[in-house]
Amino acid sequence: MIKYDENPANLSETRQYEDLSMAIVYKIREGSKAGRLYQKDEIYLELMGEDIQEGDDERRKAFEEALKRAIEEHSDIKEVPGAGGALFYYSEEYMGEPYVRLLLQKQGDPLLLIAETVRDNSASYPRPIPLNMFKNPPFDFSEEEIIECLRQMETKDLFRDIARTVTSAGTVFLYSTSHLTPDYASMLAEWFDVGQFENP
């Protein structure tokens, strides 16, 4: 077993863990609390202080074993494939599956991320959602990016169900026509954007 303290690049907050697998668990959990999915090489870099491709075989092997043990011994630590097959790690104790899904979608097609989020909201709550929500984490789109995404969506059949409604205050909401009628979406958007503030 590699003693974690042997690693010159260790981080002060994880010194308490002598076992490397515990350091990995800690790293993943902290990442999840902060809304971050970790890839293997990112964990390696942060804990071992070197690029995984450049590490010596013994250290890499020890790391792989520690990671495996972290998953086996800690039921909250999960491995999930992202777009392109890369593996990501998170703690389901601190990050829920919906957020993981958003983060993975974010790494793929932004149009799909917006469309799926809109559809999910229209189907399950049900409600339209304000365009501005996509400026917040984990989306973090700029105004220009959102406008560009919407422009592109208008040209693709895949997104024909994504529609807009504008409230009396001028706020744009998105909804899916597969789940909400225009009339209902319009009423709900007006309620969320204007009505609820007049009924505090």
Partner: protein, 701 residues
């Protein structure tokens, strides 16, 4: 007599006419009514005769708190104030106002569960309460001053830890639309002028004692932590406003605004609110930012911190710092309040030069908030501002004022959304200057009467939110369908009930809400999606009854009904269940009087029925269904003439609402024809003497 925890044990009675100060035993006289509104209603049933008017010396004011006020129970800062309501029209009837802040706890620490104010002082006075020492003092030096100056002056005398409940010039001048306020920003509307009519400027309280908890200390502390774990953000919104790592759900309409990247920009250093995992009980106070919720994203950079009541981690009063407002308008740069207070100034305007969520809206908030909270003007849950807009934009103000008075206002400023217009309007309300100021200060009912306008017109306009008896709706069919409508028929002012809205607005998906509804009210059909209403069913009637009883229970225990009940929670591992027994657990441990949820609900029903009985007695009619529990026309109106129950409409069917009232009365055990409780129902809740008195008066069905 058995010694109970929770209660302070004494009720203070102050007669301002003969300056007699006396003490009563809370347990002996009021335990069956818990505290708060329960004590208030009991006093009014026993002591205030029908026909008494709000400003008569014979009217009383009861400031009352409950056995949980000042304890460690979360959200325990509410003081209930009961009196004959001066804006209730055409006849003043019993009503209650509720203020948060530190007054409730301080009153308990001084040794009192309630103060009953009676009579009328022959000159302005203020009441000083420092533990056992209670004095009536000359208020000559503070009469004519605003609430802020009054608070400072009395705090100089009693010390900075005292809580001062004061009226401003509006209350002194007997403006019905006036408040009493404590702790800088915590007000109860409608009460100011009743205090003014008694020449009572303020009550200042300093308590140095404590409250004993009857139960085991460790068990009590475990219960408090358990209760804290069930809390959401303001209004018990249990999901965050945007996706968070820990959250399965989110809702852009939620008041749980905390998130990575959202920070209190005017604090030093700047504090990021962060994801606020609900398991971290030390970060509950970061969840809510009502300034950002109401004023818009712009408010984040002006936010200093949250503020609020004793014992409440929610901090629904947000403190903001707006240097530009201070520079432009000569007002303090820092202010704080929650929904009604933050909206007071801005709601007069239809637009602002930089949009409804720009800096001018924030400045209008600051100007309105500082003036209203100093003069002590009440908004009647926004009806003042809605009335004002309608009256102006429909040309009624111009028609009703003389040319000279009309021209004395800068209407161009008003139309442009210039906050300085408020300097012209609000003082005239507080000082009853001119026709407009005087009329607006009367409250909607008396104002309409004075100007020869028809209340029925107000009842037709859905944008006005007007309900009945001079007051607006308070969470009705716009979000809770038939249940909301039923609740709004029951009081003599706006209903102030949040039990139902806190559930339907909690942010959980409809499917989850329906699952919880089935557990609480026996059927998932008790709740509908907003604007996707279905015909009436028994679950909705049960929900209405439960909501009303929980409101009265909270108002009597001093738990905040703006936060409770706690039947949903942010906790996934509980399947988002809250706990419907939290009130009975807190009550039992605090007082030592073991009561189940059902037993406590029976007391709540007793309190609610006493309010009903006083209303029946004072209206001198048992025909409550026809004469009191009325519904405005706009509830049944859809501008697009769509059929009821079409998704996207909130209007309801008159016949279905008749059925709804039938089912509600049946749930309550009331006579369906008259809407009056029966003898048996009064007897069942322990009010047989009340039933006998009503029978004598011919007021039983």
């Amino acid at each position: 007599m058995k010694k109970y925890g929770g209660w302070a044990g004494k009720v203070l009675r102050v007669n301002l006419s003969d300056r007699k100060i006396s003490i009563e035993d809370t347990i002996e006289k009021y335990r069956d009514f818990l505290g708060g509104t329960g004590i208030g209603y009991k006093v009014f049933w026993d002591e205030v005769l029908p026909g008494t008017k709000p400003f008569d010396p014979e009217n009383k004011i009861v400031f009352a708190v409950g056995p949980l006020a000042g304890t460690g129970a979360p959200c325990n800062g509410r003081t209930a104030i009961t009196t004959l309501w001066p804006t209730c029209w055409p006849k003043a009837l019993i009503g209650t106002g509720h203020m948060g802040g530190n007054f409730a706890a301080e009153l308990k620490y001084a040794g009192y569960d309630a103060i009953i104010i009676e009579g009328k002082a022959n000159k302005p006075v203020w009441i000083s309460i420092v533990d056992e020492k209670v004095t009536i003092n000359d208020a000559g030096h503070i009469w004519g001053q605003g609430i802020r100056r009054t608070t400072i002056e009395l705090s100089r005398i009693l010390g900075s830890e005292a809580s001062v409940a004061a009226i401003g010039q509006a209350g002194e001048n007997l403006v019905p639309m006036s408040v009493v306020m404590n702790s800088y920003s915590h007000s109860a509307g409608g009460v100011g002028a009743v205090m003014g009519s008694k020449n009572l400027k303020a009550i200042a309280v300093r308590g140095t004692g404590g409250i004993s908890i009857a139960g085991n200390r460790e068990e009590w502390e475990r219960l408090i932590k358990y209760h804290l774990s069930l809390l959401g953000a303001n209004n018990q919104h249990v999901v965050p406003n945007s996706p968070q790592p820990w959250a399965e759900f989110y809702d852009p309409a939620s008041r749980w605004l905390a998130s990575k990247g959202r920070a209190w920009g005017a604090s030093s250093p700047v504090i990021e609110t962060g994801p606020c995992d609900p398991r971290d009980l030390n970060r509950i106070a970061y969840r809510t930012n009502n300034a950002a919720f109401y004023l818009g994203e712009i408010a984040w950079k002006y936010t200093v911190r949250g503020s609020g009541c004793t014992g409440c981690p929610i901090r629904c009063h947000t403190m903001i710092k707006i240097p530009s407002a201070a520079a432009k308008y000569g007002i303090p740069e820092i202010g704080m309040n929650t929904c009604g207070g933050l909206n007071f100034g801005r709601s007069f305007f239809r637009n602002f030069p930089d949009g409804m969520r720009g800096l001018t809206n924030v400045e209008a908030c600051m100007v309105g908030m500082h003036m209203a909270d100093d003069y002590g003007i009440w908004c009647n849950y926004g009806q003042l501002q809605r009335d004002f807009q309608k009256l102006y934009y429909e040309g009624i103000i111009k028609n009703k004022l003389g040319e000279k008075e009309f021209k004395s206002y800068s209407w161009d400023k008003y139309e442009k959304g210039d906050p300085s217009f408020l300097f012209e309007l609000l003082p005239r309300i507080a000082f009853k200057e001119g026709e407009l100021g005087t009329a607006l200060g009367l409250g909607t009912g008396a104002h309409l009467e004075r100007w020869g306008l028809s209340e029925s017109e107000w009842k037709k306009d859905p944008k006005l939110n007007y309900w009945k008896m001079g007051h607006p709706k308070h969470h009705s069919n716009e979000e809770v369908g038939q249940c909301g409508v039923i609740i709004n028929t029951q009081y003599n002012r706006d209903a102030q009930c949040h039990s139902h809205t806190n559930f339907v607005r909690n942010g959980l998906p409809l499917e989850v809400q329906k699952r919880l509804a089935e557990e609480i009210w026996g059927t998932p059909d008790a709740v509908d999606g907003v604007g996707a209403y279905t015909p009436m069913n028994v679950g909705k009637a049960r929900m209405a009854k439960w909501s009303l009883l929980r409101k009265e229970l909270h108002d009597s225990l001093s738990l905040c009904n703006w936060m409770g009940p706690w039947v949903a929670s942010p906790l996934k591992n509980r399947n988002y269940r809250g706990d419907d027994t939290i009130e009975s657990m807190l009550y039992t441990l605090a007082t030592g009087d073991r009561k189940s949820r059902e037993e406590l609900d029976l007391i709540a029903e007793r309190i609610f029925l006493l309010h009903r009985a006083i209303t029946i007695r004072d209206m001198n009619t048992k025909e409550m269904r026809k004469e009191h529990d009325t519904i405005p026309d706009w509830v049944f109106y859809d501008p697009q003439k769509r059929p009821v129950y079409t998704k996207g409409t909130i209007h309801l069917d008159p016949k279905d609402m008749e059925l709804a009232m039938d089912m509600f009365y049946q749930e309550m055990g009331w006579d369906r024809t008259t809407g009056a409780p029966t003898y048996e129902t009064y007897r069942k809740v322990g009010l047989e003497e009340v039933a006998k008195e009503l029978k004598k008066r011919g007021l039983l069905p």
